[in-house]
Amino acid sequence: MLVYVVKRLGHTVIIILSVLIIVFALLRLGGDPSAFLLPPDAPASAREELRVSLGLDQPIPLQFIRYLQEIASGSFGDSLRWRRPAIELILDRVPATLRLTGVAMAVSLAFALPLGIMAAVAAHRRRRWIDTLAMGFVLIGQSMPTFWFGLMLIFVFALTLRWLPPSGADGWTSLILPGVTLGFYSSAIVARLLRSNVLEMLSQDFVRTARAKGVREVTILARHVARNAAIPVVTILGLQVGTLLGGAVVTEYVFSYPGIGLLTLDAISQRDFPIVQGFVVLMALVITLINLVVDLAYAALDPRIRY
């Protein structure tokens, strides 16, 4: 088991490095921060001077090595526009995004659990229409682009009904619309998976045995089915964290929610390399570690799995 964990951690480092190389190169091939750091009135010579002072005139591999050296000494560089350590700026915004992602996951489960289980039970009992209804709802959720869904929610709940604020981060009411936007898409995936797993469980021998013994349906569902169905669901939820964090970028933009997604989006359009690079490293780290945790949890839940 320990060997497995160590090997996985090694993989993590390789993955992060690969992602970093790709993003590092792409950023430098696709634009120049000096054009954003100086007013358009500035002469071309000033831009060139700035490029040189930022080391951008060097070949990309050389720049990358210098960047690695910087990381080794503990810094991800200073944001070109904020003039503060990039990692500080990113970490400042992480709590906000975590709150958003937390709400999104709660929303996701709140939709997915009842829908998925209901659909599975209905399908098992040959009550087609509940199943179709639930899955239809889920399909709609999966087909709607986050951006558009967010705007629709603003239109209905902020503009027309005036129940909730359209943007910002003042208080818990600001978390509702972005949280639902972000969580809705993920709930679709979880609901479908849950439905198919629960359905499979319900026709298993051990369930028929429990029924024959006279155990109540609810208990069967809660105790026997749930635990078994939980395994793949935990996996998916873990993987969803990555999607949620990615989707948070779009959601944060639509709602002007001050998380790392918005910070990074702004940084990308302004070619603020250190922030984008720091964000990428952080995301790669979070996602690969969560995947590791999920795999270990898998082993804990299913006695058949041992590494």
Binding site: R83, L151, G168, S256, D266
Partner: protein
């Protein structure tokens, strides 16, 4: 006897009390105004973040020597008057009795400190350094007179130096740049209260402002990049001034009882550039043909919905020296076709890209497509090629753009040189048009500070640009703002949101 004295004492105290109450500034007529800008600021140092959104905050907190007003006349703020004392030095006469928010006096030392900070303070790192690099020395003549000497004759000296923000020397010397960048103070109508990055900047009224206190107690700036969300904030009454309102939202805002659309002809002009260094655009007849092929009025009416004006000549009409005698090329597709034939090109033979960086001005894609269609009608294939802004800029500065390109430009200080620099060889780093004659004229106007002498040279430059069709000015954009019906506010052509003059409606 004692009762009488009591009454006199009470009367005296009442009089004393009411007089002190009256000498306090009455509360502002408007409690709070929320302004929604489109991009967040990245520092509170007013000499560092140069973007328009940030400057809207600075010009309410800080003072500056002079800035253009609604008629694009240079109006003195901290400088009462100025004059050229020789061909490269401007003497500014400063306003007396002005103080920074911490009580520090504003004087010639503050001006010297501020300009020197931009030019020499590496730690502060102001990006304006290269823009005012022509300043050789700032000389304190006396407490309220300061000379700015340039390395040569610079016609735009007063305007360029005038718009630089004046910062408090004592405060910065005592607390340092980093502290100032988080807690700025200035001489402006509003004082800094707080900045929550990503969320808001809050200012409060400066009751000691030398022009008199503003009518607003608190100002909140919020950055909301998504257009629909921005407009929703206005329509739900959570914002009072909202920038960049697209044409399709105008009806919705006007229909609401609580808000309206306010427009102002701006300094922003959309241009069509031609890479005249390459074939076939190196042929002046081809360029002329293109100029006559484009239906600018059509674009203004149908795409911009009337929120624009065809540019009169080569320069936006707010720019000093815009020559009324230089006319825009007339829309004449027949003429265009015959010019092309004369130049020896068969219809369909010319196939060039039409590039632009996305997101820089409203309806960029639609305008590009309209132009492409117009050109198609005269036998030129111009393939619309949108590029992400950073990528377009990259190509632009690397001198690798070919064919036609659309760009919008705001001549912030209203000086013609702001546009001329695009057609002078090598000045911006991207040379797509080169003419020795034009270069000479542009170089000459740059060193002729006396307006009377400079005007004919500036006009000559415009005539040459028009003759060569070096750059085609399409239309001047009207900037639209969404404004709450609670307040009365007048926008400016140079896009600055100045809040001192806001009154309740």
């Amino acid at each position: 006897m004692q009762t009488k004295w009591h009454w006199i004492l009470i009367l005296f105290l009442i009089t004393l009390f009411s007089s002190t109450v009256q000498s306090q500034t009455p509360p502002a007529a408007i409690d709070e105004v929320t302004v929604v800008i489109s991009r967040d600021v990245t520092t509170m140092d007013p000499q560092v973040d140069w973007t328009l959104d940030a400057r809207n905050i600075w010009y309410n907190i800080s003072g500056y020597l002079a800035l253009h007003d609604r008629n694009m006349e240079l109006r003195g703020e901290l400088a009462e008057s100025w004059e050229w004392i020789d061909d490269r030095t401007v003497r500014f006469h400063l306003r007396e009795g002005v103080r920074f928010h911490n009580g520090e006096p504003f004087d010639a030392n503050a001006v010297k400190f501020s300009i020197d900070r931009i030019l020499y303070d590496e730690e502060a790192g102001s990006p304006w350094k290269s823009v005012i690099s022509f300043v050789e020395e700032v000389i304190v003549v006396d407490d309220f007179t300061v000379d700015v000497r340039a390395t040569g004759p610079v016609p735009t000296l007063a305007a360029q130096v005038g718009r630089m923000v004046i910062v408090p020397p004592g405060y910065i010397t005592e607390f340092g740049n980093a502290h100032f960048a988080a807690n700025p103070i200035g001489t402006g109508p509003f004082k800094f209260v707080e900045w929550v990055p990503g969320q808001r900047v809050v200012l409060e009224r400066n009751t000691d402002y030398w022009r008199g206190p503003a009518n607003i107690e608190r100002v909140v700036f919020r950055a909301i990049p998504e257009t629909f969300t921005r407009i929703t904030e206005l329509l739900t009454g959570r914002a009072d001034i909202v920038v960049q309102v697209p044409e399709e939202s105008v009806d919705q805002i006007e229909a609401s009882a609580d808000s309206r659309v306010v427009t102002v002809p701006s300094m922003q002009t959309v241009y069509l550039g031609l890479s005249a260094q390459h074939e076939p655009l190196n042929d002046p007849m081809v360029r002329q043909a293109i100029g006559h092929a484009i239906n600018v009025q059509g674009i203004v009416d149908f795409i911009m919905g009337g929120y624009a004006q065809p540019t009169a000549g080569v320069l936006n009409s707010f720019i000093w020296g815009a020559d009324p005698n230089v006319e825009r090329p007339e829309y004449d597709p027949e003429l265009a076709m015959s010019l092309l034939a004369e130049a020896g090109y068969a219809p369909g033979e010319i196939d060039i890209p039409l590039t632009f960086g996305t997101g820089r001005f409203i309806k960029d894609r639609e305008v590009a497509e309209a132009i492409s269609a117009d050109l198609e009608a005269v036998g030129i294939t111009a393939t619309v090629t949108p590029m992400e802004w950073g990528v377009w800029q990259e190509n632009y500065y690397a001198d690798s753009l070919e064919g036609l390109f659309l760009m919008s430009w705001t001549a912030t200080i209203g000086d013609p040189d702001d546009i001329f620099k695009f057609v002078e060889s090598g000045r911006t780093g991207f040379t797509y048009f080169s003419s020795a004659a034009l270069d000479d004229v542009i170089a000459k106007q740059l060193v002729t500070p006396e307006p009377a002498d400079r005007l004919p040279i500036v006009q000559e430059a415009q005539q040459l640009i028009r003759e060569h069709m070096a750059l085609i000015a399409l239309y001047d954009i009207e900037t639209t703002y969404g404004v709450s019906n609670r307040i009365e506010w007048l926008p400016q052509p140079n896009d600055f949101i100045l809040l001192h003059g806001v009154t309740p409606r």
